[in-house]
C-alpha cells in the first residue's frame, strides 16, 4: 500500500496555475460564440434563426450573443455557411440581471470560502464539472475553496439546474438554513435561464425565480475554469470584466 504514496509523488504536481497564470492547455474550455459582424444581412438573419434558444440576436448585420441562453449546440459554428466568431477562454462569470455592481462576500471569506452545492434538476454536466474542481488538475483547495456537507457552515450556495418542482422546497430550505453573509451563484445556462427545459409545470426558469441570485456562470456546461472564475468573483478576488450582462434589445 505504500506504492500509492510513491506513485502520487512520481506523478508530481499537475495543478493548473490559474488564476496566477492563464491556463492554455487545449481542451480546458470549449469556448463560446461571440457577437459577430457579418457582411450581409441574410447571413446575420440565418445566424439568428439557427440558434435553437434565441441566444443570437441580429441587429442589422451585427449579431449579439446572450451567453446565458447559449446551450453550446455548436450549430452556429458547424452548420452555418459563414460561422460565428468563436471566443476562446473561460472567464465567463457575470452578475445576475437585477444587479448593477458586484457584492462579493466580505473579505474574511476571500481565502477561505465554504461552498454548498445543490443539484436542482441538473442534467449532470454542470454537476460533473463542479466535481472536476476537486481533481488535482484544478484543485480548488489550493485557493481556499472547500465543499461542505451542510448549509449551516456554508458561505456560498452553488446551484445547478433549472430548479425542478420537486427540488424547489429543498432548495429553499437549504438557503434558509445558511447563516447570513451568504451568496448564491447559479452555474450553467439552465440555472440562469432555464436552458433547454425552459419553463413548464415541472420546471422553473432558473434559480432566480426561487432565490436571490448574486452571480452567474453561463455555459452549457461551463468548464471547470469558468466555475472557478465565478468562485473567485464571489470571493471578491477577481473583478468582473463586463459588469452588466448583455440583455436582449440592448445595442
Amino acid at each position: 500500500m505504500s506504492f500509492w504514496f510513491w506513485h502520487g509523488l512520481r506523478k508530481g504536481i499537475q495543478s493548473s496555475r490559474y488564476p496566477a497564470r492563464a491556463e492554455n492547455t487545449p481542451g480546458v474550455s470549449p469556448g463560446r460564440p461571440m457577437g459577430t459582424d457579418f457582411s450581409t444581412l441574410e447571413e446575420a438573419q440565418l445566424a439568428a434563426e439557427i440558434c435553437p434558444t434565441d441566444a443570437i440576436v441580429a441587429h442589422g448585420k451585427s449579431t449579439y450573443v446572450n451567453p446565458a441562453k447559449c446551450v453550446h449546440c455548436q450549430l452556429c459554428l458547424h452548420s452555418l455557411p459563414s460561422p460565428m466568431n468563436w471566443e476562446p477562454g473561460y472567464e465567463w462569470a457575470q452578475l445576475s440581471a437585477n444587479q448593477t455592481e458586484a457584492h462579493p462576500l466580505p473579505s474574511a471569506f476571500a481565502k477561505s470560502m465554504h461552498i454548498m452545492v445543490v443539484d436542482a434538476g441538473d442534467c449532470g454536466a454542470c454537476l460533473h464539472e463542479v466535481k472536476q474542481l476537486n481533481n488535482p488538475l484544478y484543485n480548488m483547495h489550493r485557493l481556499g475553496f472547500f465543499l461542505t456537507a451542510t448549509p449551516r457552515t456554508a458561505d456560498l450556495l452553488l446551484v445547478v439546474g433549472p430548479v425542478s418542482e420537486n427540488m424547489r422546497g429543498p432548495l429553499l430550505k437549504t438557503w434558509e438554513a445558511m447563516p447570513t453573509s451568504r451568496k448564491v451563484i447559479a452555474v450553467g445556462g439552465c440555472a440562469i435561464a432555464g436552458g433547454v427545459f425552459g419553463r413548464s409545470f415541472m420546471c422553473a426558469c432558473g434559480v432566480g425565480e426561487v432565490l436571490p441570485v448574486d452571480f452567474e456562470v453561463p455555459g452549457n456546461p461551463p468548464p471547470p475554469l469558468a466555475i472557478l472564475h465565478g468562485l473567485l468573483v464571489a470571493a471578491g478576488r477577481k473583478s468582473l470584466k463586463s459588469p452588466k450582462p448583455i440583455s436582449e434589445g440592448r445595442v
Partner: protein, 713 residues
C-alpha cells in the same frame, strides 16, 4: 447521648400516629398525613443519627427478654447512623413526593389509607433493623420489612403487567432470610447469647476456614436485598411492577439495608480472611458490569434505573471486597479508604437514584408512558423537571461537580491502592476488577446520555398527550435532592470526616488525616507531604479561605506511600469555583463579541425534506444498539424474523424482527440449576408409584439406617 433514646421513641410515635391518622381520616386527608408525618419522622431520623455522629458515642439500650431468645437490645453506632441519616433524607423527599403524587391522583378506587399504613409500618421496621442490637430483633424486623415490601408492591395490582413480580421478590427474600438466619446461628453457636457484641467476641475465636460458610451465606443472603448477581433477578421485575410512589423507597432505602446487613455481619461481626474479600470484589465487579449492560440496552425507564441500581450495588460491594482484603492483609489505612468510598457511594447512590426514580414517576404521570422510544421532547413541556433530571443524570454518570464523581474517584483510587499489597495474584485480581469498574463507568455515561436525550431532548416520538396534573405536582422533593447532590459533590472534605467515624469502627484506623488535610500550612499533620507539593499548592492558592472557612481544606488527597511519593489530589470545591469563574468570563466575552449580532432560530437541518417526522429520528434502541452488538456474546439474543411479502422477495411489505433475550444470569446459572433440580425431582418422583409394599419397605430401610447410625449409643 441523652437525646437519642427520646428521639428514637419519637420516631416510632410519629409512625404510629401516622398509621392511626391515615386509618381514621378521610381519603382527602391521607396524602397530607403521609407527607407531613413522613417528613416529620424523617427529620427525627436525621436528628437521631446526628446525635450519634456528632458525639461519637454509640447508643445502647436493653429491652425486654424473651424466653429462649435472649434479651432484645438496641445498639445504634456510627455505622448504622450513616444509614439512618441517609434513610432520613430519602424518606423526607419520598414522603413529600408520595403526598403530592397521591393528591393529584383522581382515581377513586385507590385505597390510599392502606398504602399509608403500610408505608409507616415499613418506616418503623427500617428504623428497627438499623437499631437492632441482637440477632432476634434484627431478624424479626428484617422479616417484617420483607413482607411489608411485598404488600406494598402488590398494593395496586391492576396496573401491573407482571403479576408474579411480588411473589418472586417474596420468595427470594425468604430464601435470603433463611441463609442469613443460618449464618447468624452458625456464629452464635459459640456465643453465650444472641447479642451482636457477644457474637463479635465469639467470632474472633473461630478460624478463617470456619468463617467461610457464614460469610458466604450472609453475603448472598443479604445480597438478595442488595442486588448482587446471581440472586438479583427479582430486582428489575419488582422495581418495574411496583407503584410509582413506592419505588424510590425501594431504591433509596431497602437496597441500603442489604449493604447494611453485609457490613454488619461480614465486616463487623466477623473478621474473615482475604479470600472472602476477593470473592466480594469479583462478585461486585461482575454485578456492576452485568447491571450496566442491561441498563444501557433497556428501553423502559424504570427497568433501566433498576439495572442501574444493580450496577451501583456492584460498585459498592466491590469497594467492600477491597476493604476486606486490605484489612485482612494488614493495610488499615487502605481499608479505611475503601470503606469510606463504599459509604460515600452508598449515600450518593441513595440520593441520586431516588431523584431519578421520582423524576421517572413524574414523567410517567405526565405522559402515561415509560417507553423511551415513545418519549422525547419533554424539555419543552417540562423545563423544570428536565433541569432537575439532568442533575440526576450528571450525578449518576460521575460528572463533576456532582456527588457521583467524588465517590467513583475514591472507589477507583482505593482499588489502585492494591499497589501496597505483596501478593501478585491479588494485585492481578484487583487490576482486572478495576478495569471492569472503569468499563462500567463509561457505559453508565452512555446509558444516561441516552436516557436524558431520548426522554427530554429531540422531538416527540409517540402519540401521548401531556396531562394537566403534570404541572401541578410539586417538584420540591426532587429539587431538594438535586441540591444535596450538588452539595455532596462540592463539599467532600466536610462529608469525609463524618463518614470517618464509621470507617474507624470497621477498619480500625481514621482516614481523615490520610485524606483531608487542614489548610496548607506547615502543621505537624502536613509534615508528611513533600515540601515541593506544599509549595506548588500554596502558589495555586490552595490555602485561600483559611481564615473564612472553618475546619478542613478543600482538597482530597491520597499519598502514594514511602516507596511511591506521589500525591493524587482532587478538589471539586475548587473546581466549582473555577468553573463558575470560567462560565462568567465566557459569558461576558460572548456578550461583548456578539453585541451587534442577532440570534435567529431556524428549524433543524434534515437534508431538505419537508418535515422532520419523529420516525426519522434516533430512538433509544438505535442509540444503544452498538453496545448490544459489541457485547453480543453476553446478550445472545434470539432473533425471530418474520418477513411478509406480497408477490415475491422483491415486494416485501413488512419485516418484523422480535428479539428474545434471556438474561445472562438466568441462562448461565438459574436455568441449569432449575433444570437440574427438576431432573432430580423427576427422578425422585419415581418413588411415588403408589405401591403400599414398597412404601413399607422405605420405612423399614429408614429405620434400619437410623439404628445403624446410632448403634454406638
Amino acid at each position: 447521648m441523652a437525646l437519642t433514646g427520646p428521639l428514637l421513641v419519637a420516631i416510632f410515635a410519629v409512625c404510629a400516629a401516622g398509621v392511626l391518622l391515615s386509618a381514621l381520616l378521610g381519603r382527602k386527608h391521607v396524602p397530607w398525613v403521609l407527607a407531613l408525618a413522613g417528613a416529620l419522622s424523617a427529620i427525627l431520623m436525621v436528628l437521631t443519627s446526628a446525635s450519634i455522629l456528632l458525639t461519637g458515642h454509640p447508643f445502647e439500650a436493653a429491652l425486654w427478654t424473651l424466653d429462649g431468645f435472649g434479651r432484645f437490645t438496641i445498639h445504634l453506632d456510627s455505622v448504622a447512623s450513616i444509614f439512618l441519616l441517609v434513610s432520613g433524607v430519602v424518606y423526607f423527599s419520598v414522603s413529600l413526593f408520595a403526598g403530592s403524587f397521591l393528591r393529584n391522583q383522581t382515581d377513586e378506587a385507590h385505597p390510599h389509607f392502606y398504602y399509608a399504613i403500610l408505608y409507616f409500618a415499613l418506616m418503623a421496621s427500617v428504623v428497627l433493623i438499623l437499631v437492632a442490637g441482637d440477632i432476634v430483633l434484627f431478624l424479626i424486623s428484617w422479616e417484617c420489612m420483607s413482607i411489608l415490601c411485598f404488600l406494598l408492591i402488590n398494593y395496586d395490582t391492576r396496573g401491573q403487567s407482571d403479576k408474579s413480580a411480588g411473589y418472586i421478590m417474596l420468595a427470594m427474600s425468604e430464601a435470603g432470610f433463611l441463609a442469613v438466619a443460618v449464618a447468624f446461628l452458625l456464629l452464635a453457636r459459640s456465643a453465650p447469647d444472641f447479642s451482636f457484641a457477644a457474637l463479635r467476641t465469639a467470632s474472633t475465636a473461630l478460624s478463617p476456614q470456619t468463617l467461610w460458610l457464614p460469610f458466604l451465606l450472609g453475603f448472598f443472603g443479604f445480597g438478595v436485598k442488595a442486588g448482587l448477581v446471581p440472586v438479583n433477578f427479582w430486582l428489575p421485575r419488582s422495581y418495574t411492577a411496583a407503584p410509582t410512589i413506592f419505588i424510590p423507597v425501594f431504591a433509596g432505602i431497602t437496597l441500603n439495608l442489604g449493604f447494611y446487613g453485609i457490613l454488619r455481619l461480614d465486616a463487623d461481626l466477623m473478621h474473615a480472611g482475604y479470600g472472602t474479600g476477593l470473592v466480594a470484589l469479583i462478585t461486585g465487579s461482575i454485578t456492576a458490569l452485568v447491571g450496566i449492560l442491561y441498563a444501557t440496552t433497556d428501553g423502559d425507564i424504570k427497568t433501566m434505573l433498576a439495572h442501574s441500581s444493580i450496577e451501583n450495588a456492584g460498585i459498592i460491594v466491590a469497594a467492600f471486597g477491597a476493604f476486606l482484603v486490605f484489612r485482612a492483609l494488614g493495610q488499615p489505612v487502605a481499608a479505611a479508604l475503601a470503606v469510606s468510598a463504599l459509604l460515600y457511594h452508598m449515600v450518593n447512590h441513595s440520593i441520586y437514584k431516588t431523584l431519578l426514580f421520582e423524576g421517572a414517576g413524574h414523567v410517567e404521570a405526565a405522559t402515561g408512558t415509560r417507553e423511551m422510544d415513545q418519549l422525547g421532547g419533554l424539555a419543552r413541556f417540562l423545563p423544570g423537571l428536565s433541569a432537575i433530571f439532568l442533575v440526576g443524570c450528571l450525578a449518576i454518570s460521575a460528572v463533576p461537580p456532582f456527588n457521583g464523581f467524588v465517590s467513583e474517584w475514591m472507589t477507583l483510587q482505593s482499588l489502585l491502592r492494591s499497589a501496597v499489597l505483596a501478593s501478585t495474584s491479588v494485585r492481578i485480581v484487583f487490576a482486572l476488577c478495576g478495569a471492569a469498574l472503569a468499563l462500567t463507568a463509561a457505559l453508565a455515561v452512555t446509558c444516561f446520555v441516552k436516557t436524558y436525550a431520548m426522554n427530554f431532548l429531540g422531538i416527540r416520538r409517540g402519540s401521548w398527550e401531556l396531562r394537566d396534573n403534570a404541572q401541578a405536582m410539586s417538584k420540591f422533593p426532587l429539587a431538594f435532592l438535586a441540591v444535596i447532590c450538588l452539595l455532596l459533590g462540592i463539599l467532600p472534605t466536610y462529608v469525609l470526616p463524618m463518614l470517618n467515624q464509621s470507617a474507624e469502627t470497621l477498619a480500625g484506623t481514621s482516614v481523615t488525616t490520610a485524606l483531608v488535610q487542614p489548610f496548607f500550612t506547615a502543621t505537624p499533620e502536613n509534615a508528611q507531604l513533600p515540601s515541593a507539593f506544599l509549595t506548588d499548592f500554596h502558589n495555586l492558592g490552595a490555602q485561600t479561605g483559611k481564615g473564612l472557612v472553618p475546619g478542613r481544606g478543600l482538597v482530597v488527597l491520597l499519598r502514594g506511600g514511602e516507596a511511591n511519593p506521589v500525591v493524587f489530589a482532587m478538589s471539586p470545591s475548587y473546581s466549582i469555583i473555577a468553573l463558575m469563574i470560567l462560565f462568567a468570563f465566557a459569558w461576558f466575552v460572548l456578550r461583548r463579541l456578539t453585541r451587534r449580532r442577532t440570534l435567529a432560530r431556524r428549524p433543524v437541518w434534515a437534508g431538505g425534506i419537508p418535515r422532520l417526522l419523529p420516525i426519522l429520528t434516533y430512538t433509544g434502541t438505535g442509540f444503544s444498539n452498538p453496545v448490544r452488538v459489541v457485547f453480543q456474546a453476553i446478550f445472545q439474543p434470539n432473533i425471530i424474523e418474520d418477513t411478509r411479502q406480497t408477490v415475491a422477495v422483491h415486494f416485501r411489505t413488512a419485516i418484523h424482527r422480535q428479539r428474545e433475550e434471556t438474561h445472562v444470569v438466568d441462562r448461565l446459572l438459574l436455568r441449569p440449576v432449575g433444570t437440574a433440580a427438576q431432573g432430580i425431582a423427576a427422578f425422585l418422583a419415581g418413588m411415588h408409584h403408589g405401591k403400599l409394599n414398597a412404601y413399607i419397605t422405605y420405612v423399614l430401610a429408614f429405620l434400619l439406617l437410623v439404628l445403624f447410625i446410632y448403634r454406638g449409643g
